[in-house]
Amino acid sequence: MYRYDEFDAALVNERVSQFRGQVARRIEGSLPEDEFKPLRLQNGVYLQMHAYMLRVAIPYGQLGSAQLRRLAEISEKYDRGYGHFTTRQNIQFNWVELKDIPDVLQDLADVEMHAIQTSGNCIRNVTSDHFAGATADELMDPRPWCEIIRQWSTFHPEFAFLPRKFKIAVTAAAHDRAAIRVHDIGLHMKQQDGTTGFEVHVGGGQGRTPVIAAKVNDFVPESEILDYLEAVMRVYNRFGRRDNKYKARIKILVSETGAEEFSRLVDAEYAAQSAHEKIDLPGDEIERITAYFKGPKLPTRPLESTAFNDARVADPDFDEWAAVNLHPHKQAGYTSVTVSLKPIGGLAGDATTDQMMVIADLAEAFGHDDIRVSHAQNIVLPHIAIDDLHAIYQQLQRAGLATANESLITDMIVCPGLDYCNLANARSIPVGQDIQKVFADPAYQRDIGKLHINISGCINACGHHHVGHIGILGVDRKGQEFYQISLGGRADEKAAIGEIAGKALSQEEIPAAIKQIIETYRSHRTSKDERFIDTLERIGHAPFKEAIYAAD
């Protein structure tokens, strides 16, 4: 993984000092809240229902063991013994005090971490494929470019007061696990005539107006990508709407301007850049950064592991877990392990201090110090020898981290909802927990197969409900919580926005409604190999809607 040099370290430390001064001015009274707010947001500090919340950046979702240990320590020292991993591969602490945040940031800086631009109307943390550098199905490793984009976008003087927040995601695999088509900019790495470059998608997003991004450029060579991104950002900064917060994202500019005209504006801005304006990233610098991502040197291992096969026979729970939570590695004898943060009846994406410590220890002992956070709010150990799986599993199990549900129905994306969030209209967590209880049986879950349920507590869609195969949106009706079900969303390379199934239901009605949807799927699927989303696409929404509302 990337390591800071003296320049990166100096900048992060200077940021801590700067924020320490800002907090002091806020507390002493010379900096009013209205002016402090954009500053604290650009350091990831929110004021939520119960307390300040600090969102710490985990660039493209990668952590080392020392970093995860530091997060665990922070959760114990400054919070209430846990942290919450988010859909943008970050972590949030829910109970920190403002006066302590400068110290927390210093603790982070000491392990090469920060909270820079994790909120606010600026370029946010760059996200990527959580299996990057390990998966068998990628063209190349996207992380070097994520890091380059991280550096370019950090403290960019022109783009710190954009019309609205701005999110970039990068993938290099055919199967998109980074949801690039629902980002402000989605970059898909490609090769063309021996040159590395990017297919550029702009204007995707969720929230109040969900939009699938438009492809604005088939191929921008890597030598030009930062200048191209500057052009996109400048067009957005100058022409994005600022009259209405809900129409200020770049997706509205792209849709109101038209993708073709928008693309033309970007091309014109790009063409107008004079030589001295070009970023001119030295090739040696690309190589220097790329070298950090070579990945561990993994000893050659046999394809089959007798120890692994024997353990599966001897330990049926392990067998269950191994069938569900592993992802093919590019090297024989290895695999990528998903550590589920979705225990039945738990809090999606939450990990306690002890759990973070356990994962850090496992990564150090077995996983070449490499830890990832997935946008589905789980943890991944990307480079694990198949021989070591049973030992790892047993430790995970003791820590309550061995739920066998990766990409199954109980592996839901759930936003914090009204239990924590000031913007929420309804609670999300209890709804998710109630659904999990219906599908807790591992055999039942596996029978249902891959299926994404995503839950948001308000229209801002932090729980990605628009792109869940089944989406659930909490709404407020005269002070009562109701939930609207949508069907057919997806966040992958066939990204689509789900369609609302019908009238909103009460919290009590939701688990049964989901059960009806699932039973409808099971009775219509051609075989167990046909996934829910494929059956839905084949037979249409009508039978599912009928099933949901049959009881009326």
Binding site: R26, L47, I344, A440
Partner: protein, 110 residues
């Protein structure tokens, strides 16, 4: 900031709630105009007095952040459209979290 804050009639009884600027804790204005982290200590204000207390609160930026009116009954109980939200602010999340949440989920999984 909360997405919706209902407008309350001048004669309606109301409390004033905010966040402690240093700690972020939820606080309520007491009858004597100081601040408490316990909603049980809240003062009930009406009419011009309520408005005066709110603007007094707004003038205490370094002590409390974003004060606003919260609907209460004449006995000081949280009521009205935002009852659920204000109860959660007052009592904390409705779900067990941290170690307690983990213990609960381990009894439900197998």
């Amino acid at each position: 900031m909360t997405s919706v804050r209902p407008k309350l009639k001048p004669e309606a009884p109301k409390a004033i709630t905010a966040w402690d600027t240093q700690t972020g804790q939820t606080v309520w204005m007491t009858p004597d105009g100081s601040w408490s982290v316990k909603s049980g200590d809240l003062g009930i204000f009406v009419g011009d007095v309520a408005e005066a207390k709110l603007s007094e609160a707004r003038g205490q930026e370094s002590k409390v952040t974003d004060p606003y009116f919260m609907e209460v009954t004449e006995d000081g109980a949280i009521c009205g459209r935002e009852t659920l939200r204000e109860n959660i602010r007052s009592n904390g999340p409705t779900v067990a979290y941290g170690k307690a949440g983990q213990a609960l989920s381990s009894t439900l999984g197998k």
